[in-house]
Amino acid sequence: MRDSYVSAIYNATKINSNVLCIVGDIGSFLLRHYIEDFPANYLNLGAAEANMVGVAAGLAMSGKIPFVYTITPFITARCYEQIKLDVCHNRANVKLVGVGSGVSYGTMGSTHHSLEDIAIMRVLPNMTIFSPSNKQEVEEAVFAAMKLKDPVYIRLTLTANSTDKYRGKFEIGKARIVRKGQNAAIMATGDMVSIAINAAKALEKNNINCFVIDFPTLKPIDESLIKKLSEKCKAIISIEEHSVVGGLGSTIGSVLSQYPNNKTCFKILGFNDVFCGEYSSDKLKLFEEYGLSTRNLVKTMLDLFNS
């Protein structure tokens, strides 16, 4: 995903010289071609994220389109008040890009995890949130962010490297049906989309035909598709590499609970209000431990569907 971001920001700068690539002292090797070709568009503002976001707001209010890139907890939680005030309240055209979201830095522990970032960014007025699930969506998210004259947060993991092509154009606020189903749905974002696809395949033999819905935009959420599926599906599960509090599942739950024609049973899978206390360079092991594996998703759907 990092490679996809580097290529996307390169291509964006090529067509719009106001695009700036700002980093908090990471990615200098990955960005070496960018730095060489667009030295005037590149700024390394060091390990000083609060200031970095304020500076980006000043640049944005001067007509630039700064994409500010560093590890997710440092571009969200650490500088949260700067995001709330300098960016969102001033309505500055800043794009915050968090890399290694969720538990992507699996060996690094909770300092480098972000299981609360969607929750805290979602609550800010004027903020749009993208959460790409593959290389194609990273490029789409960067270009959509460049065109939107408002604050954007792009949540990148490290591992969603699928080169699968999704059909249909990327639209802000629209979810993607990546697998058609009939009587159930799995709603996912980021790395969880591929897990959802695997689970949906496994559930076929139990006569559960799952839609798999990918949410490349988390805010605004695609209410209309959620409502439509809630009338059609016996069970819906949301799954995310994030706390069950305040993320994709909470957003969907809020839509469902306020929709009178909702006929579905709904369950949220995510980190169950806990820090991730295990270490592994294999993220799937962490997913297994915290109930985000294909196996657990299948089991949860069977239980919910047959309840």
Binding site: G46, V53, G54, V55, G58, A60, M61, S62, D86, N90
Partner: protein, 287 residues
């Protein structure tokens, strides 16, 4: 016959005193707060807008302009009376200060007030945004400058020192930081509660040009603002020696006046002092 220069100084002093009276009446009418914080920056803000900033009040969003960021947003009453005086918005709006539907809140909002570049109020934000403005001006080869006013207590916030480092590293000699060094925190004197030590030495160590100025003396302000810009690749900090509550004797250097409002009797004393000073200045100007 007074020299032209003296007359200009007297006129500014008269204006500053009249504006203090407006600030006092505006805040007291609104049952607001931060009188003393606004009083300490009246001369600084007035001088900047009258003599330094290249901004057209009728066209405040004109691309070619200097930018001013009031990072200590709680001192906004001083900014509002200056902006109204210069015609950024009608003076009668001052009467609506902090009331429902007003554009003039207890902290300045850029989406509402013509001439306000950044919404501020939470300490430690404006300086970084000003650095962003200055960086953009450098990128665009713009000759326009950026001025940012912070409080000395505000420099407790660590984000300012991140901004100071970045500004020096990027050689932002198009940026002037002005520190309202009134030496008082909410709870008392800084030296007793959280000593800022020598701001001059700190900024020098960060790679800045430093200038010290009497923040209430227009002759000194005139002289020191002439020193800037210094085109030596370093940003400039102007450390202004000021008095919190300046202009009303019983409010000066008293921590209480950070948030307290005068009662009727105190208000009479304050207005009388300001009126008497206005009268004296008018006499000196023979108007």
């Amino acid at each position: 016959m007074r020299s032209k220069q003296n007359r200009e100084v007297l006129q500014l002093e008269l204006k500053a005193t009249e504006l203090r009276k407006q600030i006092l009446e505006m805040i007291v009418t609104a049952r607001g707060t931060h009188i003393a914080s606004a009083f300490s920056i009246v001369e600084l803000v007035l001088y900047l807008y009258k003599n330094v900033l290249r901004i057209d009040p009728k066209n405040p969003n004109e691309e070619k302009r200097d930018k001013f960021v009031l990072s200590k947003g709680h001192g906004c009453a001083a900014l509002y009376v200056v902006l109204a005086d210069l015609g950024f918005f009608p003076k009668k709006l001052l009467n609506t200060f902090t009331s429902f539907g007003s554009i003039l809140g207890g902290h300045p909002d850029r989406s509402k007030i013509p001439g306000v570049e950044v919404s501020t109020g939470s300490l430690g934000h404006g300086f970084s945004v000003a650095v962003g403005f200055a960086l953009a001006n450098k990128m665009n080869h713009s000759k326009y400058r950026v001025y940012c006013l912070v409080g000395d207590e505000e420099l407790n916030e660590g984000s300012n020192w991140e901004a100071a480092q970045i500004a020096a590293h990027h050689k932002l000699d198009n940026l002037s930081l002005i520190i309202d060094e009134n030496k008082l925190m909410i709870s008392g004197f800084m030296k007793d509660i959280l000593d800022s030590f020598s701001l001059k030495e700190k900024f020098r160590a960060f790679g800045w040009n430093t200038i010290e100025v009497n923040g209430h003396n227009f002759s000194d302000l005139s002289e020191k603002f002439k020193l800037a810009p210094i085109k030596n690749g370093k940003p400039i900090v102007m450390i202004a020696d000021t008095i919190k509550g300046k202009g009303v004797s019983f409010m000066e250097n008293k921590k209480e006046w950070y948030s307290v409002l005068p009662d009727e009797e105190q208000m009479d004393v304050a207005v009388e002092e300001l009126n008497s000073n206005i009268e004296k200045l008018r006499e000196q100007l023979e108007i």
